[in-house]
């Protein structure tokens, strides 16, 4: 598989978008840490921006890359290689290069300005979000051959997870405020990887005290190693389900 990843990486590095992405993240991180005063404040602002921009850039970049690689994939499918191998090589190539950009752009500044458990959670969350949204992008790309439609679906997915979902959750909480909703909120959080990552990082900051009963419940669950393990397992599922679904679709369609 490494052979093909090599060529995918070569293609991505040449496009220079990943370099620009790295610089953007680096500028963002260093700027926020220098503005905020305390490292915790810096982490909080960084968390909010990372959870908004990383999914967006990951999903848009991965979708356009997939459509631009059609020729490459067409060349490879007539060669003696498994289709799933071509697909997974593309996935690893995109996910690894975006992750490397994230590690350089956010990981290094966090290590310098705010080392500690919270920073580690932030970086891990960012990496998971990258892998998840590249997988979602590939899912959007195998659904349709039309590039414009594919990017449309990808943007809709981002809108849904980054903006609309929170609105829906707020609406549910507001409408059913008279009922005990602690466990329901927990389940709702697990259904959105962005929120799950946010909650995990927030609970490691002092601000969790302001989140009321639900915050206390979260704290009791995500505070334990067991709870954190489950949370990462759910994030892993968020990578695997779209990835395996799209791989299956890719091996069963015409090219």
């Amino acid at each position: 598989m490494n052979k093909i990843i090599k060529y995918v990486l070569y293609d991505i590095v040449r496009s220079k978008i990943v370099v620009a992405y790295t610089l953007f993240l680096l500028l963002l991180s260093i700027g926020l840490f220098n503005l905020g005063g305390s490292p915790d404040k810096g982490l909080l602002s960084l968390l909010n921006l990372v959870l908004l921009t990383v999914p967006l850039i990951s999903i848009v970049f991965a979708t356009t890359h997939f459509y631009n690689s059609y020729e490459f994939m067409e060349l490879l499918v007539s060669q003696p290689i498994r289709r799933s191998r071509i697909f997974l090589s593309e996935y690893w190539g995109v996910a690894l290069s975006l992750s490397a950009a994230f590690l350089l752009g956010v990981g290094v500044p966090v290590l310098l300005f705010a080392p500690g458990a919270t920073g580690l959670y932030l970086v891990l969350t960012g990496l998971f979000v990258t892998f998840i949204f590249v997988a979602l992008a590939f899912l959007a790309s195998v659904i349709t051959r039309d590039k414009a439609k594919g990017i449309g679906i990808a943007l809709l997915l981002w809108f849904y997870f980054a903006l609309i979902y929170d609105g829906i959750v707020l609406l549910i909480l507001y409408s059913f405020g008279d009922y005990p909703l602690e466990y329901a909120t927990l389940a709702l959080t697990a259904l959105n990887p962005v929120d799950l990552g946010r909650v995990m990082v927030l609970l490691n900051l002092d601000v969790s005290a302001m989140m009321g009963y639900t915050g206390a419940l979260y704290k009791s669950i995500f505070g334990s190693a067991w709870g954190v393990g489950i949370a990462f397992l759910v994030l892993l599922l968020w990578v695997l389900v779209p990835l395996l679904t799209s791989r299956r679709a890719f091996t069963r369609r015409d090219l």
């Binding site: 052979k3 093909i4 060529y7 293609d11 040449r14 690689s69 059609y70 020729e71 490459f72 067409e74 060349l75 490879l76 499918v77 007539s78 060669q79 003696p80 290689i81 498994r82 289709r83 069963r252 369609r253 015409d254 090219l255």
Partner: protein, 235 residues
Amino acid sequence: MIAIENLSKTYGKLAVLDNLSVRFEGGRVVSIIGPNGAGKTTMSKCILGIVLPDSGDIKFKGESVLKKHAYRSEIGYMPQIGKYPENMKIRQVIEMVRDIRKDATRIDEELIGLYGLQNMYDKRMGSLSGGTKQKVSAALAFMFDPQVLILDEPTAGLDPISAEILKCKILKEKKKGKLILITSHIMSEIEEVADEVMCLMDGTVKFHDTISEIKQNANEERLSRAIAKIMNEED
């Protein structure tokens, strides 16, 4: 060498291949003809696993090729329109395919030499003309000394000299016992290189005979006339 059994493929409502059954043996050059949209390219792509059939089976040396990939090391494919990653150089494309087909025992670089591709190794694929891309496709198809060659309108974009080189190469490879499938519309060319002609129409085999049989049946000297006669008669 290749047996296609009851192959069907539909795009939406359009049935491109309709219960197609045909066999091809080694040491022959088979020309696949038929009107545009008759399913010629779809059939080749099914053999290569690029297009997946709805039903039916394709057997290569007696074994089904569906959901397999290793058999493709025995096939060289030259697409009708070669699509390559735009920002890769000729050298990189050739090296990559070689890297993938490392197990090939014999490397045949004759066409690279005859087409003078070494002199253009550092050109980007995106900057090449259609004809040069065709030459790269041809060189890649013949490079690994495959048992089967599938050439989809191989001479369509080539200049006369390059087309002649390719025809000589085809005849040379045939003598080694290879099966060569060519889709083409140019009758004079078919007459030059092919042993058999298979005619596809609306996704089924209209006829599949040797060239001399076709001429005899139609009682014509020239292949193009003979084929036109057969097609008109049966309409």
